[in-house]
């Protein structure tokens, strides 16, 4: 029974999220309080959604890359580049130009990664490591090592504005989820990506253009990363090339894995990757609210991640089933 429950797709993640939210409520009684503030919902729950938006956006691209049995380590650096470009152009040239340039940069970064992986056949982890290292350097060149601030209100809105009370980053994130979902599941892309990740050779022999597929997911991942970078910059009204997106590639990968997508490719779930991102952020916010000394942050995080991943592991589930049977 327990085995069946735990193995049904997505349940483990949803339970994990609920448990973490309950724990958040336990450490911080006002956790679920909501009110309106300047036309925007305000409360810890909103913080979780809002702060989780960049990682959620990253995981949206990352999940597709991982589904093809790849990985993209460069997303954090791409965030920094996109943020730097948007911030540098926003005040002088306006938001449309800034946005287009930043997204264009993300697209190019994705194209570069995709080219290395799909065309040159370099292992994804190595191929994207190149941009992970070089990309931050590029971002630092753009900002000359300082925090480039801007005031262009429409760009700032992307970080601080609201749509019907929902913070703009959350709205953007949901929008991207819908678009990605429509593209991937509305077309045959989802199936073909899963096939490619599950067995690239067999997929190729079934007539799937696996290279184009792989190129496409890296481009999409670059685009998502650029969007995340723009939002992160808009949030602090400045581009911080040294810190923007730093280590977030790891959070994104973690979100995808928590979302039940295997690093060995194949089956993926966009929604569960987002849930994974939410789990991570719910945990981060909970830690901040708890008032524990910050020295414990990483320990708590590691412990929670371990438990969530254990819950998903089939062996653990069957061990649970055996225990359950023994008790009867």
């Amino acid at each position: 029974m327990m085995q069946r429950l735990l193995q049904s797709r997505g349940l483990a993640q949803i339970i994990a999220l609920l448990v973490i939210l309950a724990l958040d409520r336990a450490v911080s009684p006002q956790f679920f309080d909501l009110r309106m503030q300047d036309g925007r919902l305000f409360g810890s729950l909103i913080d979780v959604l809002n702060r989780g938006a960049p990682v959620a956006l990253l995981s949206l691209g990352m999940v597709l890359v991982i589904a093809t049995r790849g990985i993209d380590l460069s997303v954090g650096a791409v965030m920094a580049i996109a943020g730097a470009i948007a911030a540098s152009l926003a005040d002088a040239h306006g938001m449309p130009v800034a946005l287009a340039a930043a997204l264009g940069a993300g697209l190019l970064c994705g194209l570069w990664n995709g080219f290395l992986v799909a065309v040159l056949g370099i292992q994804p982890i190595v191929a994207t490591l190149i941009l992970m290292v070089a990309g931050r350097g590029v971002a630092q060149l753009i900002t000359e090592g300082r925090i480039v601030t801007f005031t262009a209100p429409d760009l700032v809105w992307l970080g601080n504005g609201a749509v019907l009370g929902v913070p703009a980053p959350v709205a953007v994130e949901l929008g991207m989820l819908v678009i990605t979902g429509a593209v991937v599941r509305g077309s045959a892309l989802g199936l073909l990506i899963e096939a490619t990740g599950g067995n690239a050779r067999a997929s190729e022999l079934a007539g799937i253009g696996t290279r184009a597929m792989i190129l496409a997911v890296y481009v999409w991942c670059g685009l998502c990363a650029a969007l995340a970078g723009i939002i992160a910059a808009a949030d602090i009204m400045g581009a911080d090339a040294n810190n923007a997106g730093l280590w977030l590639e790891l959070d994104a990968i973690l979100a995808v894995v928590i979302g039940g997508t295997s690093l060995f490719g194949g089956r993926f779930s966009l929604v569960l990757a987002m849930v994974g991102a939410l789990i991570i952020q719910a945990m981060n916010t909970g830690i901040l609210l708890s008032g524990y000394p910050p020295e414990f942050n990483l320990l708590v995080k590691a412990a929670v991640v371990l438990v969530v991943l254990l819950l998903q592991s089939p062996r653990f589930a069957s061990a649970g089933a055996v225990l359950g049977r023994a008790r009867q």
């Binding site: 000359e144 601080n160 810190n243 901040l288």
Partner: protein, 321 residues
């Protein structure tokens, strides 16, 4: 001496064409860490102007955050026979060998901004650094004075866990809190020295402290986190600088903009001018053989709205922050 002057003159022509081509008396090689932050960029540009003021030729090598680049730069300075070497060490250990080489070449080394492991103490002439415990204390003193005995709940945005600057700035501030019973640090979390994290952590502080009503002041280990925290307060409908007092450290330009706008109250300067005192010490040492103390502490100056923040902002903005 003449050969040295000749060397210096050629180096001057070859490398620093931008500097006024007066007959420089001294040539100093500066191994800078890189330009990873605005403060670092400002330090570089202030160093240039301080050297020019004293007619010293300053050769700056940017190590891009890598110790091996710094070691290479120092070796090349030794080979060029510079009069002194300034080193802003990227890490605290692993300098013994190269500093010995400098000592053997009789080239004095001055550490800027950061110290190295105690084992190397006799290998350099002096270290020009600020006292980060003192910085924390200055920030605390300001708050104690501003509150004048009234009870005040403080939330603290720490720097990166484990970073010595963060530990020291906390220690300095805590020492003042310990002496003032009215001050109490109610929450303390790390904001990793970044704006984004400063904002996020402040958001959670506000939620946890009844919408910010029970917070009386924020202390941040650097201005960047405070800039993020100010945004968080504004978005929560609070008035930073009035509802909640702010004090932070570094004195980067953006905090002066906030002070000018009445959204921040005080900042303690971590001066980017480390080269000035260092140059003075070297010049005295070279001219008269005066051996400076092992540690030259820079001033930790406090700035508030009373110091014409807009003007400071304008002047600092040009430094590369």
């Amino acid at each position: 001496m003449t050969s040295k002057a000749l060397l210096a003159a050629t180096a001057l022509v070859a490398i620093t064409l931008s500097l006024p081509a007066t007959a420089a008396e001294l040539t100093v090689g500066f191994s800078q860490i890189g330009s990873e932050s605005g403060w670092r960029a400002a330090e570089t540009s202030v160093s240039k102007s301080e050297a020019a003021k004293r007619k010293v030729t300053l050769k700056i090598a940017d190590a891009q955050q890598k110790q091996e680049n710094q070691i290479k730069a120092i070796r090349s300075f030794i080979a060029q026979g510079v009069d002194a070497i300034f080193l802003a060490p990227v890490v605290s250990s692993g300098w013994d060998a190269v500093l010995k080489e400098a000592k053997e070449a009789k080239i004095p080394v001055v550490l800027l901004d950061r110290d190295i492991d105690p084992s190397g103490k006799e290998l350099y002439l002096t270290a020009v650094t600020s006292d980060s415990v003192h910085e924390g204390a200055v920030a605390g003193e300001w708050l104690a004075k501003a509150m004048a005995g009234k009870a005040c709940n403080v939330v603290e945005l720490q720097g990166t866990v484990g970073a010595s600057v963060a530990t020291n700035r906390k220690k300095g501030f805590d020492s003042v809190v310990a002496k003032n019973a009215n001050l109490k640090v109610v929450r303390s979390q790390t904001g990793d020295f970044t704006r984004a994290k400063g904002k996020e952590v402040m958001e959670s502080f506000i939620k946890a402290e009844g919408g910010g009503k029970t917070i009386c002041a924020v202390y941040a280990h650097n201005d960047d986190m405070m800039v993020g925290a100010i945004q968080a307060m504004k978005e929560a409908g609070l008035k930073p600088g009035k509802d909640i007092l702010t004090v932070s450290i570094d004195a980067v330009p953006d905090i002066f903009k906030a002070i000018a706008a009445g959204e921040a109250n005080a900042t303690v300067e971590l001066t980017p001018n480390m080269a000035g005192p260092a140059l003075d010490a070297i010049m005295a040492y070279k001219a008269k053989g005066t051996v400076p103390p092992k540690w030259i502490q820079t001033e930790s100056k406090l700035y508030t709205a009373a110091d014409d923040p807009q003007k400071i902002y304008d002047s600092k903005k040009g430094l590369g922050y």
